[in-house]
């Protein structure tokens, strides 16, 4: 028998569920454990499930080789609180491609209820609950890698919004690469505490006490009619950042179960919003496919700005992220309209061709993964989400940020007379970004 690898296991399990003769109810579910091993799960007592059907499940499970733990099918008997297990919100309707039969005919896809138990990354699939409290529009600035001008764009966007009278709150969640505060706050002018402190103090029950002392005003907004308030990664004069960082992500026990990173981050953002009452929140996300980014993009963002420079490295990563969502249609529906691509560092040479190429790639990626498939014949169907390639408000339609040497190794706090950028230069490079943010915010008000 051929060796079964991770990719095969779920497909084989889904195929055997398709082929087995099973009762309609309860529908067999699948739990994938932290090692990727699969077990079938029955939302009933084992004794209430027909023996011949159970035997088929046990056999199918055993056939998964190293991707089965054993042939035990999970049921109410396996757990002390089966209601909690089977009612967990991490169960997702999941599409599994079945591959092809022996003659090469495609088998299409099957839908299973999957509980994916992962060490990390669970937050990519945890959109915020509907009907949460009203909050200012949250923009998350995300890139798969650093060095694409994300933080600079964030600062300039903050300035642009303050220029238009907005009170802007910046939050630095790029804890492994803290640097945002250096761009918007002069050295030694920050707050006493940083985001990292809140995580530690909250774990011992005094998060509320540091909250008022972790935000400071940025001089970047001095010449504007608005304000820029900054929650930096660390407080001023920090000496123990790594000792704190290594503890920041701990799950914190509480009477209502452990408080995980995602819930804690959301908590902090909500408390900061309540304290600062900003018109808009800009969040600097950790780069790459990391848990902190997952929480920011899936759990916090009203708009996630996906910074990309084109080229294989960007598309490979974003494609995997989009596929992850595509396989869980309920999550995909929730997430896709919040996404916007930013074409960062748009080169001046061959600009038009490069922009067109980026647009094409971005559209193709969305069309293939997160947009609804269009029916072969044109119908009047209106609830399908599939904006046209030229639709400028669509998620795939990129915001352009130009490559401008002036903004490389750039100090946004320098006044123009000291070599800083003039407002017109900022509007030139970042105007499109600022305009799109404002239009997304207006969308909330409408």
């Amino acid at each position: 028998m051929a060796t079964i690898h991770f990719n095969d296991a779920l497909r084989l399990a889904a195929i055997s569920l398709e082929n087995a003769v099973l009762p309609d109810e309860p529908k067999v579910r699948v739990i994938r454990d932290i090692y990727g091993r699969l077990r079938f799960a029955l939302d009933c007592a084992l004794a209430d499930y027909p023996a011949p059907a159970l035997a088929q499940l046990q056999q199918a499970q055993a056939a998964l080789g190293c991707y089965a733990t054993n042939s035990d099918v999970l049921s109410h008997d396996s757990f002390s609180d089966p209601e909690a297990v089977f009612g967990n919100t991490d169960w997702h309707r999941t599409l599994v491609e079945l591959g092809a039969d022996e003659d090469g005919n495609p088998l299409g896809s099957a839908e299973i209820q999957l509980l994916d138990r992962q060490i990390t990354g669970q937050d990519w699939l945890r959109p915020p609950m509907e009907g949460g409290a009203a909050h200012p529009h949250r923009f998350v600035f995300f890139g798969l890698k650093g060095g694409v001008g994300r933080s600079t764009a964030l600062c300039m966007a903050a300035w642009g919004l303050a220029q238009r009278g907005k009170k802007v709150l910046l939050i630095d969640f790029d804890l492994e690469s803290p640097g945002l505060s250096g761009l918007v706050l002069p050295a030694n002018k920050g707050a006493d505490f940083g985001v990292v402190d809140w995580f530690l103090e909250d774990a011992v029950g005094q998060g509320g006490a540091v909250l008022p002392r972790m935000v400071s005003a940025s001089p970047l907004a001095e010449t504007t009619i608005g304000a820029i308030r900054v929650a930096a990664a660390m407080g001023v004069g920090e000496q123990n950042y790594l000792a704190k960082l290594s503890r920041a992500y701990a799950d914190v026990p509480s009477a209502s179960g452990p408080q995980r990173m995602g819930a804690r981050m959301r908590n902090m953002v909500e408390q900061l919003e309540a304290q600062e009452k900003p018109d808009v929140v800009l969040i600097d996300s950790r780069a790459g496919l990391h848990d902190l980014a997952a929480v920011s993009i899936t759990g916090l963002a009203d708009t996630a700005l996906l910074f990309a420079t084109g080229g294989a490295q960007s598309w490979t990563g974003f494609r995997q992220l989009f596929l992850h969502w595509q396989h869980r249609p309920d999550v995909a529906k929730h997430v896709r309209e919040r996404l916007v691509f930013v074409r960062a560092l748009t080169p001046k040479t061959d600009r038009e061709a490069s922009v067109r190429g980026f647009q094409r790639e971005a559209y193709a990626l969305f069309a293939e993964t997160l947009y609804d498939e269009l029916p072969a014949e044109q119908t009047q169907e209106s609830d399908l989400f599939h904006p046209g390639e030229k639709d400028e408000s669509a998620p795939h339609f990129p915001i352009l940020v130009d490559l401008d040497e002036r903004f490389q190794e750039f100090d946004p706090m320098l006044r123009p007379e000291d070599g800083g950028a003039r407002p017109a230069q900022i509007e030139g490079a970042f105007g499109q970004l600022i305009a799109r943010l404002l239009s997304r915010m207006d969308g909330d008000a409408a």
């Binding site: 739990i31 454990d33 932290i34 090692y35 091993r37 077990r39 733990t69 999970l74 396996s78 757990f79 002390s80 609180d81 909690a84 297990v85 509980l115 138990r117 701990a250 799950d251 914190v252 026990p253 509480s254 009477a255 179960g257 452990p258």
Partner: protein
């Protein structure tokens, strides 16, 4: 007639008689100690006693739920079991002192906290211990309560019950995760 042993002697008994047609070779017996199963059994029975108002023995069993549940987790986090499937009597070499985790509640829980470096996969253990926030629930539970008169027992059954439920929820999570 007994079935033959495993390995190369399969199908033959000690006298060399062919027994293959009579019975298949017996699989080696699993170790006797099975802490997850034991924890769940004690929980079911404790709840039955609790519902029937038999609080003294329900309380005794809740303490065993906690002990067995924690030991199931510890073994899943790299503590090497003895031949019985239990936590060994001695610490690993070179120390060889008494093993701090072969204890009943509440000493077991305080030793987990105090001697945590003995758990090889501490990161994993910590993840699941975070599901058990009230580490103090069994502070007044004693294995010797079984010898006591009813009126001498502390009135803590509901606290012990809450603690046993937390441990059970932790086991549910570890079971889903494939850790147990």
């Amino acid at each position: 007639m007994e079935a033959g042993g495993g390995g190369g002697e399969a199908g033959k008994n000690e006298e060399g008689m062919n027994t293959a047609s009579l019975a298949p070779a017996a699989a080696p017996l699993p170790p006797r100690v099975a802490y997850e199963l034991a924890a769940r059994r004690h929980m079911t029975d404790a709840e039955t006693l609790f519902a029937a108002g038999r609080l003294a023995n329900a309380g005794q069993l809740y303490g065993f739920v906690a002990e067995c549940g924690l030991k199931a987790l510890l073994l899943a986090c790299g503590i090497q079991p003895d031949a019985d499937g239990d936590i060994p009597r001695k610490r690993p070499a070179p120390d060889k002192g008494k093993h701090p985790l072969r204890e009943h509640m509440p000493l077991l829980m305080s030793n987990i906290t105090a001697d945590f470096q003995i758990v090889p996969d501490g990161v994993q253990a910590n993840r699941y211990l975070a599901l058990v926030p009230n580490r103090n629930d069994f502070h007044d539970w004693l294995v010797d309560h079984r010898y006591w008169r009813d009126t001498a027992l502390p009135a803590s059954v509901s606290l012990w019950r809450a603690g046993a439920r937390e441990i059970s929820t932790m086991l549910d999570q570890a079971q889903q995760d494939g850790v147990l």
